[in-house]
């Protein structure tokens, strides 16, 4: 397990030695981007109002305090289930040039291909740790698409050593969750055989 701080803008060569299971921290620009934002860009063809090239996105819907005069403060922010964005992510990576996708849980074949072809990472921030994450956000620089409501708006955050981030898909397309799944399913079958012999309660 190795620790590394990545700073945006991120280049392909910054990521080439990073492998699944590594721990990284992120400094620079991290933009919250989830269900509707993905759908708008990929399905509806609406251009994103923020340039993601070399930057990072966060599958997250934060709680934000509105201090007035376009001044906002992150109260709590943490990752949401990344798999919901699987349908769009490969094209999203190709279209935007995003380098790091921060989320929760695994992603599938599409994202693997996107990460391999365009040299990007999917990383996991341990979910539910939203106050810790909020304290790593230095400030909200901009907000876009506020019509989508607080969770779905694009909050452009400046972060410092944001993490721990656990690499789940690397630039070779290796996918730790997919590998784990094979092992989990095998063990599940063993457990089913074991337990089902002991629950014959209907005589």
């Amino acid at each position: 397990m190795r620790k590394k701080v990545l700073t945006t803008p991120i280049k392909d060569e910054d990521l080439k030695d990073i492998r699944t299971g590594d721990l990284i921290y992120l400094t620079g620009t991290l933009v919250t981007c989830r269900d509707v934002a993905h759908r708008r860009l990929i399905e509806k063809g609406v251009p994103l109002p923020v340039d993601l090239k070399g930057n990072a996105i966060f599958h997250a819907g934060p709680i934000v305090r509105d201090n007035g005069n376009e001044n906002y403060e992150i109260v709590s922010v943490g990752p949401t289930t990344s798999m919901r964005m699987e349908k769009f992510e490969k094209e999203f990576i190709a279209e935007t040039g995003v380098k790091v996708i921060v989320g929760k849980g695994g992603m599938g074949k599409n994202t693997e291909e996107g990460c391999r072809e365009h040299k990007a990472l999917h990383v996991v921030f341990p979910a539910g740790n939203a106050v810790l994450a909020a304290t790593k956000v230095e400030r909200i620089k901009e907000v876009h698409w506020k019509d989508l409501g607080m969770p779905e708006s694009l909050w452009v955050c400046e972060v410092k050593e944001f993490g721990p981030l656990i690499v789940s898909i690397d630039t070779e397309g290796s996918n730790v969750f997919e590998q784990n799944k094979v092992e989990f399913n095998k063990k599940k079958e063993e457990q089913y055989e074991l337990i089902s012999k002991q629950v014959g309660f209907i005589n």
Binding site: I63, G78, T80, T81, G128, A130, G149, N180, Q191, Y192
Partner: protein, 304 residues
């Protein structure tokens, strides 16, 4: 005992204020049973990555308590399970009190705006909406008290929820398969270590309700039926052995426990449902007497 004469309007305001503050507390501090179990799981963990995740969780909960901020950004759609005495003075006002408490706490904590009107597909921006929060009622005879469970479940641990009706021929073996399959497909993304609620009954809605009630039962509690308790233990050990670990990234244990709640079934069916509670299991219990003196049953050493 506090004895203050108040008119109904003042009483409603007082109760709304207390419940609103209680929701805020539940958003930043986990109940005692969950805190204790997480400590135990963290101490037992041997996988280095899983250990880092437990350390992150501990640091987060400490920060959340200090800063009084929601420990998880997804503060859910509030759910209430109410057991109300038939003589509780505000029985008729309670639905409104519970809804307004969510609104008030959303502004004051703040909580996330999690109420999207369906079909019209817009976020109300108030965290309340048509049928939201959800309130489930039970009436208690010859009582002037009310017992209220509040529950804040995010989208992540709501997603694995599922119910089906099995043929009796599939038996309890079918129940085991149904639960285990859900763990490896959806459970690992629902923020383990999980509390798994399994409901058994006749149909999908009875089983589903039972499975959610199971999540209100304390971590470490046992079903009073011997066979059901056996099933709880078998499933807990079995799911732990699959090795999902915290965040589904492998680890020694994957669960805080399995709670089964069961009711009688139709001879031709076995209704079964699963609900999962994430590690950040934000459940709280508060009881009021007729004078609105209250007692918090789930959190120790706290003031509202």
């Amino acid at each position: 005992m506090e004895k203050v004469q108040m008119n109904k309007k003042q009483e409603v305001e007082k109760m709304t204020d207390i419940i609103s503050k209680f929701i805020t507390l539940v958003s930043y501090k986990l109940p005692k049973d969950v805190e204790t179990k997480l400590k135990e799981l963290s101490a037992e963990e041997t996988n280095p990555l899983a250990k880092i995740i437990y350390e992150t969780m501990e640091e987060n909960q400490k920060l959340a308590s200090e800063l009084k901020r929601p420990s998880c950004q997804d503060t859910g759609v509030l759910q209430y399970f109410v057991k109300c005495g038939d003589n509780f003075p505000l029985i008729g006002q309670l639905d409104n009190i519970l809804k307004q408490s969510v609104y008030k706490s959303t502004k004051e904590t703040p909580l996330r705006h999690n109420s999207v009107e369906t079909f019209d597909e817009y976020n109300t921006g108030e965290n309340i909406g048509n049928g939201s929060p959800s309130i489930f009622w039970e009436i208690e005879e010859d009582s002037d008290k009310v017992e209220i469970y509040t529950y804040m479940a995010g989208g992540g641990c709501t997603l694995p929820g599922t119910a089906t009706v099995l043929m009796p021929g599939e038996g309890y073996e079918g129940v085991v398969k149904f639960v285990l399959d859900r763990m490896t497909t959806y459970g690992l993304n629902a923020c383990p270590p999980l509390l798994v609620g399994v409901g058994i009954g006749t149909s999908v809605e009875t089983a589903a309700m039972n499975s959610k009630k199971a999540l209100m039962r304390p971590v470490g509690s046992k079903n009073t039926n011997e066979n059901a308790a056996k099933m709880e233990k078998l499933l807990e050990d079995g799911i732990n052995a699959i090795g999902l670990g915290p965040q589904g990234l492998k680890g020694s244990k994957s669960l805080m426990g399995v709670n089964v709640v069961n009711t009688a079934r139709h001879p031709s069916t076995i209704g079964v449902a699963i609900n999962t509670g994430c590690w950040s299991h934000r459940r709280g219990k508060i009881t009021f007497d007729a004078n609105l003196n209250y007692e918090i049953g789930t959190h120790e050493g706290v003031t509202l």
